[in-house]
Symmetry: C3
Amino acid sequence: QETVSSAATDEARRAEIDALRARLESLEKRQARDHEELEEVRAVMAPIAPQLVPPGPATAPVDTARAVAVPVPGAKVTDVQVEWGAGAPIFRSGDGVFSFKPRGRILLDVSGSGGSGYEARNITTTGSRALRLGIEGGVGPHLFYQFESDFAENGVDVVTAFLGWRHKVLGLDYDIRIGNLFNDRGLEGSTGSDSTPFVERTVVGTAIIPQRGFYGIGAQGRLFGPNWHASLTLTGDDVDSAYAVNDSRTVIARAHWNPVKTDTTVVHVGAWGFDEKLSSAAGTVTRNTVIGGRFNGSLRVSTGPLTGATGDTGYGAELGGYWRALWAMAELGRREVRLAGQRDFLSDAWSVSVGGFVTGETPPYNPRFGNFTQPKVSRSILDGGPGAIELTARYERLAFTQESRLGEGWAATVGVNWYLNSFTRLMLNGIHWHTDNRGGDFAGGDDGETVTLRAQVSY
Amino acid sequence: QETVSSAATDEARRAEIDALRARLESLEKRQARDHEELEEVRAVMAPIAPQLVPPGPATAPVDTARAVAVPVPGAKVTDVQVEWGAGAPIFRSGDGVFSFKPRGRILLDVSGSGGSGYEARNITTTGSRALRLGIEGGVGPHLFYQFESDFAENGVDVVTAFLGWRHKVLGLDYDIRIGNLFNDRGLEGSTGSDSTPFVERTVVGTAIIPQRGFYGIGAQGRLFGPNWHASLTLTGDDVDSAYAVNDSRTVIARAHWNPVKTDTTVVHVGAWGFDEKLSSAAGTVTRNTVIGGRFNGSLRVSTGPLTGATGDTGYGAELGGYWRALWAMAELGRREVRLAGQRDFLSDAWSVSVGGFVTGETPPYNPRFGNFTQPKVSRSILDGGPGAIELTARYERLAFTQESRLGEGWAATVGVNWYLNSFTRLMLNGIHWHTDNRGGDFAGGDDGETVTLRAQVSY
Amino acid sequence: QETVSSAATDEARRAEIDALRARLESLEKRQARDHEELEEVRAVMAPIAPQLVPPGPATAPVDTARAVAVPVPGAKVTDVQVEWGAGAPIFRSGDGVFSFKPRGRILLDVSGSGGSGYEARNITTTGSRALRLGIEGGVGPHLFYQFESDFAENGVDVVTAFLGWRHKVLGLDYDIRIGNLFNDRGLEGSTGSDSTPFVERTVVGTAIIPQRGFYGIGAQGRLFGPNWHASLTLTGDDVDSAYAVNDSRTVIARAHWNPVKTDTTVVHVGAWGFDEKLSSAAGTVTRNTVIGGRFNGSLRVSTGPLTGATGDTGYGAELGGYWRALWAMAELGRREVRLAGQRDFLSDAWSVSVGGFVTGETPPYNPRFGNFTQPKVSRSILDGGPGAIELTARYERLAFTQESRLGEGWAATVGVNWYLNSFTRLMLNGIHWHTDNRGGDFAGGDDGETVTLRAQVSY
């Protein structure tokens, strides 16, 4: 068969080639769009601080959340983008509007004590510090929600449960949340149980606390500057089943400031306070505060019975920071409980903590909220690295006083935290503790040591 | 270098172009298939009623579920299609066979009362109406399952937990479910706690109820016509830990009919009834029914102690509908409890409710089940719109009688519901209530007002 | 217009075609990579045994987990691969590093008894055998974690909660897990509640058990050979809130061996033992062991009160296997409880079970762990098939002895298991039981029948 190279066939061939090119270009564009979307998403996923894992739907700043939410032209509405690396996947719709993430944490301990003059204190026990399941989600850049329940000790304890809104005012980020809210109160008091540098929070965090505990149902507003934040919270009681009398009413405020904030150095200054009007059902304010180990039930600084409380006020201050891989933090606080017809009951607590990553990581201090969170591990054991290894030390002191001293104690802790990756951790804490309770089963001066080993996963 | 435009090279070039075209066509087809699959999925995802959000795996009609399950030629078996818009994503396998969705809801209230002659009733409390976690899933068009547990008040209450099967018989959809099942009993009694138009169900829903409550373990069959449905349920007790004596046995039946059903107008008629043979452990039928607010424990219509019950029968009727953005619903019911050697204990309740969306949405009445569900918000605040705003009003009346009147009450409620989007809602209800209990701590006529604010997310 | 077929234009056209071809080739490669990734993932997803559903993130062998984790060049880091077929989807990152799966199970029963000489035993009840929610996840081939809580009977019971590591030593797979761990103890004792061939485990599994129950917080190491495994576990108490005294300390060991292991035939031999040092709070070892049905609270083999226990030792043996669709298993065990100043309390139990799939499936015996799991259903009802139908029979006997016989019983069970697909099951068990308790409310010889129907979903 013969081929004729006429102008007509040549013209047809050129048209064919043009048509093919057009179709190919169109297809390449469609294919490329997914990659672009991905790049955009990853770009705006830049963390709050370089050493932190990216924030979830409920903790992202406005700009991040908004940027993720910019619809990409032509994106499939049923598409999904999945972000890994946080223990549980974060699901996002292809257009960035919706996000959803399972949440939870597993913290299990074994704890042994010795050296006490009281044999009942020299025991070894296992315990569940936190066993949580929950979710967090977001719709668009402004609306988010979260729910988490703790099943530690085979019980139910609803922790966070809220609906939130974030936006900008006067060029500053803010958010407002209504629901069951975690106190913003001191650096370690505002740090999640999966992010504290020691197995237990400082006594400032455990003793200078509202009577209703770490959570309350109400509303919280937070305002974020470039190197500070401030918050105000108004709540009733925690999630409970008591509806016979008025709830207690608690107001909490806190602010933190980073006068120095560079890539290698941060200085942290913070102050906070709360005031409670106690419900008629909340008049008993007896304290038995953990000093050496939560899972040794006899190891407490105790007040003996205290009843008839009508209200209380607490306040505290924080000073610390980090330089390269080293950090230090001092906290102190006082709580004054008003008791009908009696002198005020006072709790005084302070602590100094230091730590450092021998593997060189920057400490997981969060400059947005002024608290600790999970570190970004440079060489995870999953990549054949050593994980991150942090050495820590703390001294803390607590005293309860009314007419006279009711009880006091101090603890000195050294610890090693081994982060296998950013969301799993093994912790070993050795604690020398001293208690001097004026009553109860363990009265008088007593010293001993407690060693606690924790296995932890956050997702 | 020289180019020869011979017939041979021309032939080769034409072959090249043909080959390129073939490959491009193949690639275009593969690329296009995803879009087609998406279109198909979206087409069959048409909701039960245009104003409703699409149903999840466990609530979809047979045709929807079946259509989703039609395998698309060439679909990847490990692929996933994600459907957003319902608070939590719905995951579907690429071939449509499997689906899975996290489930839950967050409903938190603050409630204040005043104006009562009893000071103990004039209190302000916070409360958790529902705090749920769970899942729902489906396999193929016929098999589905669901599990959800409620952690409100820091307790555990297993709500839905079932395995279900749906198919067609005589051209009608049916489903059969076995497990822990929600009563099909009255319009608001059959409405989820996240979809009731007021913070609390009508007294018909809360008082004309089986002794075992809203749930029971057993089997339920439902038949769906084009404008009606009917159900029959047989259960023992709710999820519990009581295995010493026979369970109670409850039979429930309900049917609803929409004699008028157009795009703008629906008329709803319904009737229902139940009969219980009470376990020897369930003889105490004392009632303390919420009248002004669940989270004011003193605000109840009460019977005083009632024991010795052997069985009970309840029945009710519903009449209502909607026209454009306005809806109205009347319900009434009676419950007769048989007591050994005593006269029957009677509960009589009725209510009339009206509502309307000032933002123009069609009321979220579900013509498949004859109940309320979540609305489709026209202009979500996430799109810069106002959300959906609904105004509501209700009058309801409840009376308990045995030898004589034991207690009675009524409440008049006005409310505003603000749906930020289809699955988040802020509710404000103002209630004037009246109780007249013949005994107990709050005997005699008493009037007052309760204001309740609720924040809600369903996922 | 005229077309000139000059060498120059011809050269240009050839260049255009070459360019188009190059772009097309590049695009085809990108498109093809997803398919290849999928093939690779599916290839390495080969199950532990051909009749089993593929293992989840926490139960996969090292090689499977490692193979999944091999990064595919050019994979998108935010990509997701979803594996369906296990009730809940398994999400994997595109590079195979991360995996995550929701977990849970729904097991609901109705149970009726008759024929007893005691009327209180002739009752019908409903019950919740298991109602679980949880997650499992993995990072890389070595690290995995799991958490699951059970809400049966409207309570909380934390079941598995651990962090694990798996690797190879001397050419053998091993894993180490720390957290709240399920006993490795007998074939049915090591089988999940959703995989037992009968509604209740054999009395060897329910009576020859550590005092602390099925779970304890501690560490477990397991070593896996080609046709055997061995495990060693050291734990304190289960998840609880008792921190006043030392935990009990439990050591458990088990090994199984498959001397014959072909496609159609497996022989199973196993042995196990445990030793407990009991806490001063765990001295009460009274037993009321289920014989005919868990949800008939009066149907128990009982010891009467037994206190003052200081420790106990248990041991047992297993012999069985399968041939084509038929299986048989014999188990026996003894437990010796040491009581201060009294003779040992002995529990003796044995059972023989047989079963077979009339639909031809291979029994779901798991040769990796030496226990039962979910079967792979050949013709699921979702594909229009009959599902899998298994007929079962068991005889079991239990005796409690101290100075004299305290109580004894036996049960003969016949059953039908209908697996609709691999993760849903309806079970019907008919049990003739005999108890002879020497004390308590149901003393003396008594016989009767119990019929139990179960609906089950695992995800």
